[in-house]
């Protein structure tokens, strides 16, 4: 213990280049031996270790002033010499074995075990830590959305507001839990309410380009807002949302809507409000063959939205879609077929063989570029000449692709294709995966599900709300009667119809002479 006394300082004598005559009484060890005694086991034990009397206590004075200004004194540079001194001073710690044995659980066995474990485990341990950190660093918007959906599920909150979350993708797995949504029953005794929720999903102002198919399986969905996204196409499965009351599709890049959306206007549907504009919808281009000039056309267009339906029946344009009389529409909506394009026939790979080409999907194109000429009444529905007879049977490519889509391994199948294989197959598999994700598509003629469409055409339907009878007074006012051209055009909604074979084409219709009533329905 006596050795613990501080040693006298070594004084460097620069003239002799040696330590001064006052030699140290004790040899300085080259390095301090490791501390051998174990820490005490019980708190009541007197800690004999000299570590408790660490030199930190001596540096207490280095900090002055209030705590928020505390900085090590060395920063100020004023006490450099002092620090120099302190460095030279011997560290105040026990340098020898106390000789007192204190029990520890450390045994030779444990040490070897540690060695054994630490070796192979170190690598995966580090890896896992890294991934965990990266996850922590940036939870993706989708993960946040998933969290919110989980919260809504737990709290029974029916309106799921995911607007302005910067979502770029939304997967089926995120939406799927909502299918199990149940209302929290009220606690009041004797009161019974339905536990079926009225879900409201707001996805406005995100960057979604595709929608998950599960979204359209939520048949309890009443409000769906997709405003301000980057959707190019709406999946056909949207027609399954039979309880939808409000649908907002404005401010997207939609060129057309699926034909199946008409199911939302059927007699037993509940759709009340629909926002479609602005979008990049294709507009019909009516033929101006006769010498009658634009005025007439404008008049005709104005007449379109009004009661003067006689004008509508100008031979070339008007053809009633075959389904129309079979269906009954909701009384709140006025749904009428207006025109259609010529049929596009596609080959087994989905490339155009015959028919009009759709305007390119370029951003910011002028509205005139959106126009597609409507089909003549005398439009030939003849498919392109082919040596094989026409058949409704799917192609082998389609059948094989459908089998691929049925497997659960669909996303990985493209990796199994050989390197030198045709690149078109990868595209087809990607299409199939996307289609499966968004809920599949069915032929609008024969209701067979398909992956590669063989025919497609756009029909323009007038979708407008019927004015209430009570409000006829206001409707009769001159302001209401003058519908401007824009309104008329906007009420014409392009609907994409697709067929699964070259025989799935619109029926040839003869001009109906009767049923103006049916059309006004």
């Amino acid at each position: 213990m006596a050795d613990d006394l501080p040693l006298p300082r070594l004084a460097w004598n620069p003239t002799t280049e040696s330590f001064s005559k006052n030699p140290p009484r004790k040899r300085v060890r080259p390095s301090s031996p490791p501390i051998s005694s174990d820490p005490p086991i019980f708190s009541s034990d007197d800690d004999p270790s000299a570590d408790n009397y660490s030199t930190q206590a001596r540096r207490k004075k280095k900090f002055r002033g209030p705590w928020y200004r505390q900085r090590p004194a060395s920063d100020e540079g004023s006490q450099d010499s002092n620090e120099h001194d302190q460095k030279k001073r011997r560290k105040f710690e026990r340098q020898f074995d106390s000789g007192v044995f204190m029990g520890s659980d450390g045994t030779d066995m444990d040490e070897s075990m540690e060695e054994f474990e630490s070796g192979p485990a170190s690598l995966p341990l580090r890896q896992s830590r890294v991934t965990r950190q990266s996850e922590k660093a940036a939870p993706t918007p989708e993960e946040l959305a998933r969290g919110q959906i989980q919260r809504c599920l737990e709290e029974g909150d029916e309106s799921i507001d995911l607007s302005s979350r910067g979502l770029t993708t939304l997967s089926n797995a995120t939406i799927r839990p909502l299918a199990t949504f149940t209302r929290v029953p009220p606690v009041t005794e004797g009161v019974f309410t339905r536990l079926e929720p009225k879900l409201k999903i707001f996805l406005a102002s995100n960057q979604l380009t595709t929608l998950p198919g599960e979204l359209f399986n939520l048949d309890r969905l009443t409000v769906l807002s997709l405003r301000g996204n980057q959707l190019r196409e709406l999946p056909p499965s949207v027609g399954k949302l039979s309880n939808l009351k409000e649908l907002n599709l404005s401010q997207n890049g939609l060129r057309y809507l699926p034909y199946e959306i008409l199911e939302l206007f059927s007699a037993r549907s509940r759709l009340n409000s629909l926002h479609l504009h602005p979008n990049l919808f294709h507009e019909p281009q009516f033929p101006a063959t006769e010498g009658e000039v634009k005025e007439e056309e404008v008049q005709y267009k104005i007449g379109l939205g009004n009661r003067t339906r006689a004008n509508l029946r100008r031979g070339a344009i008007c053809a009633v879609s075959p389904d129309q009389r079979r269906r009954s529409w909701h009384t709140q909506w006025r749904i009428t077929f207006q025109a259609r394009t010529e049929v596009r026939f596609l080959n087994i790979h989905g490339d155009l063989v015959k028919g009009p080409s759709l305007p390119a999907n370029t951003e910011g194109s002028e509205s005139s570029h959106n126009k597609i000429p409507v089909a003549e009444m005398s439009d030939s529905l003849e498919p392109p000449a082919s040596d094989n007879g026409l058949s409704r049977a799917p192609s082998l490519l389609e059948a094989a692709l459908a089998a691929c889509a049925k497997t659960t391994q669909l996303p990985f199948l493209a990796d199994f294709l050989p390197e030198d294989g045709p690149p078109s197959l990868r595209g087809l598999l990607a299409d199939a995966a996307e289609k499966k994700e968004s809920g599949g598509s069915k032929c609008t003629i024969c209701a067979r599900s398909f992956i590669i469409p063989r025919t497609e055409w756009i029909e323009w339907w007038e979708i407008a709300k019927v004015l209430e009878i009570n409000s006829t007074a206001s409707a009769a006012s001159p302001l209401r009667q003058m519908e401007n051209e824009r309104d008329v055009l906007e009420s014409m909604v392009p609907l994409m119809r697709r067929g699964c074979s070259w025989l799935c084409v619109p029926e040839k219709v003869t001009m109906p002479d009767e049923d103006p009533v049916a059309m006004d329905e």
């Binding site: 058949s391 192609s395 082998l396 049925k406």
Partner: protein
């Protein structure tokens, strides 16, 4: 169906031969749905020097059997309104997809 029985009338039937030597005899009319087979039979390829026989070096017997089955399925359903689906086992789907692309069917 696809049976490797004896040929009957070289003009009416064609024989498809797989890479591992299986032979399938199919109606010429049915097989000609495939544009590739049609061209082969027209004699523009080396494979068909011997008349009505098509050798497929890249298609094995299991897949070619399914292809032959498809030809019959397609031929049988060519005039039907409601066409049933063809059963394709999942383990064959990718190879069949490549075969379909090759045969242009």
């Amino acid at each position: 169906m696809a049976s490797s029985s004896q040929k009957q009338g070289s003009s009416k039937y064609v024989t498809l031969i797989s890479s591992d030597g299986f032979e399938f005899v199919v109606l010429r009319e049915a097989a000609c749905i495939s544009k590739a087979i049609k061209k082969m039979l027209a004699g523009s390829f080396l494979e068909t020097k011997r008349g009505d026989r098509c050798h497929f070096e890249e298609i094995n017997g299991i897949v070619l059997e399914k292809v032959a089955e498809y030809f019959c399925y397609n031929h049988k359903n060519r005039n039907r309104e409601d066409v049933p689906d063809m059963e394709i086992p999942p383990e064959l789907c990718l190879e069949l997809l490549m075969a379909a692309d090759y045969l242009d069917t």
